[in-house]
């Protein structure tokens, strides 16, 4: 190999390394999950504004940055590739996001703007969070229901497991069969006993097996 070859190889390697280092860490061409069921209609808004809709059972891939929303007569179900199932109640909208941390699995994040979601993790611990305007619910292995009211107040009911429920004023663990409220400008409230099963009753039609 001549010096010229070495130099060319070095340049190519440097360019390759440079390109590798500057590549975005958030690939947007791999689905993060699928919309699998909609009672009424689920609207999916891609990052470029293009819309896709699901009515009934299906398998519509979802990508980082998508916004999914239901109207006043719709509910929907989403299955994430990393083993989290999420149901959207009526008038619900959230954005699919993630957080990257070095040497750690990606944290799947739902930014819940309005409405109500039920979520359940399957197959071991997950890195999963739901952000609301005033609080964030972070889970590993759990089942919970989270509702955002018009003023941003967020109501968390834990059906099974532990949810770390945090506002900018403090974070507390919320456990099975308890409820906590997140309000702007305050810590989440102390957990109180709740009928957790009732909190997810609205998901029954979505979760029932196909007839």
């Amino acid at each position: 190999m001549t010096l010229g070859h070495v130099s060319a190889t070095t340049t190519i390697l440097s360019l390759s390394l440079s390109l590798t280092l500057t590549l975005p860490v958030h690939a947007q061409n791999a689905p993060v999950g699928n919309a699998t069921n909609a009672i009424g209609e689920l609207v999916i808004v891609r990052t470029d504004g293009v819309q896709q809709r699901l009515q009934g059972k299906g398998n519509v891939p979802l990508y980082e940055g998508d916004v999914v929303k239901t109207d006043s007569s719709s509910q929907a179900m989403i299955e994430f590739v990393d083993g989290v199932t999420v149901a959207l109640n009526e008038n619900t909208s959230f954005k699919l996001l993630s957080r990257w941390e070095k040497d750690m699995p990606v944290v799947r994040i739902l930014r819940l703007k309005q409405g109500e979601v039920w979520a359940k993790t399957n197959g071991g611990p997950k890195r999963f969070e739901v952000e609301t305007p005033v609080a964030t619910a972070a889970v590993k292995e759990t089942e919970f229901n989270l509702k955002v009211q018009d003023d941003g107040q967020s109501i968390l009911t834990v059906i099974e497991g532990v949810v770390s429920f945090g506002t900018p004023f403090g974070t507390c663990p919320i456990r099975t069969d308890t409820i906590s409220y997140g309000v702007r400008g305050k810590k989440c409230t102390k957990p109180a006993a709740a009928d957790a099963k009732a909190a997810k009753s609205w998901t029954e039609a979505l979760r029932s097996p196909a007839k």
């Binding site: 994040i109 952000e131 305007p133 945090g166 506002t167 900018p168 004023f169 400008g185 989440c188």
Partner: protein, 344 residues
């Protein structure tokens, strides 16, 4: 039992009890949001560094703040790296990335990006709370402030603010955050205890960068009317303004010999840094320093004797001795350097 043994046992019992109750407290009480934990035996001081956000190369240049020699470059792993905030201990650097809508978290010891957090569309400026426990991020495209817990990197809340938030700073006592809104031509005063906007102060066209002076006054630039303005920290009223020229960019405070501190403003169209002094109601120019092409970011050293000026057209940092107005070092950096900060 010998007294020494008794005291050892007694101490162990107290320690055990303390640990037990600490565990209970952790599990029952809301955990305090604090800055990231560091083992005491691993804490070492880091020499002061100059960090420069390069918007067109998506990275951060690192320069030794004592020798002014380049130390390295840190890829932000995002796009359009714009603003920076460095923690008081110098171990963490946070960079906003306009095009990605994400904040890069940088470990300054390892000089690498360790996390990427989506905050919102066109995230623009970042500011650390006074205890470094929270990072506030202004998202121009969503008219919001995102609040990041710097320990967990979780976004714990979002505050709706005025249109086009482009400047952000905290009061000395931490009770208020000031947010400039380009669309509203105002500065919103956010009560940090309630997260409510308690006042909206008209300041002028296209308010942008903001900073708090050592005396607590809040300074800002209006890129739409070529002036700087000053807000009173107690009354939250605009108490002064001064036209400096086309494209006023950022402000830092430093001394010119025995005079000062002066508010040094980078003025992009003039290729100058202008030093203002006096009562905020009667500001006057007391220093003018010719610099390179497109001065933008500016920072001063702790002593207030050096200015570090980023040039977004010249792609360089100039180190200026404020006593003489002379450039004592010029350091090439990445393309379109916007913001410069220096660790303590």
């Amino acid at each position: 039992m010998r007294p020494s043994s008794y005291y050892r046992l007694h101490s162990l019992l107290i320690a055990s009890l303390a640990m037990t109750f600490a565990g209970c407290a952790d599990s029952l009480q809301p955990s305090k949001i604090g800055s990231y934990a560091l083992k005491q035996d691993t804490v070492q001081s880091i020499p002061p560094r100059i960090y420069v956000a390069n918007e067109s190369t998506n990275d951060v240049s690192v320069i030794d703040a004592t020798t002014f020699q380049p130390v390295g470059t840190i890829p932000s792993l995002n796009h359009s790296t714009h603003d920076l905030a460095v923690s008081r201990d110098g171990r963490r650097l946070y960079a906003s990335n306009l095009a990605s809508g994400r904040v890069s978290v940088i470990d300054t010891v390892k000089r690498e990006t360790i996390a990427s957090i989506y905050t919102g569309d066109r995230c623009h400026v970042v500011a650390l709370s006074n205890d470094d426990s929270q990072l506030w991020v202004a998202n121009i495209g969503e008219n919001t402030i995102s609040i990041i817990d710097t320990k967990t990197f979780r976004i714990l809340g979002t505050i709706p603010v005025g249109k086009g938030p482009t400047g952000l700073t905290f009061s000395h006592d931490g009770r208020f955050a000031f947010v400039s809104g380009q669309g509203d031509k105002t500065v919103g005063v956010v009560d940090t205890a309630s997260h409510q906007i308690v006042k909206s102060i008209p300041v002028g066209a296209n308010p942008h960068f903001m900073v708090v002076a050592r005396d607590g006054h809040v300074w800002g630039v209006n890129t739409g009317q070529n002036d700087v303005y000053v807000l009173d920290p107690e009354t939250h009223e605009k108490v002064g303004s001064f036209v400096v020229g086309d494209k006023p960019q950022q402000i830092a405070f430093a001394y010119k010999g025995t005079t000062g501190p002066l508010a040094y403003v980078t003025v992009g169209s003039l290729n100058k840094v202008i030093g203002l002094a006096g009562d905020p109601k009667e500001l006057k120019i007391v220093d003018e320093i010719a610099v390179g092409e497109g001065p933008n970011g500016i920072w001063s050293n702790q002593e207030g004797t050096r200015l570090f000026v980023a040039h977004d057209k010249g792609n360089e940092i100039r180190v200026i001795d404020t006593g003489t107005g002379q450039t004592i070092a010029t350091v090439p950096v990445g393309r379109k350097p916007i913001r410069v900060v220096v660790s303590r």
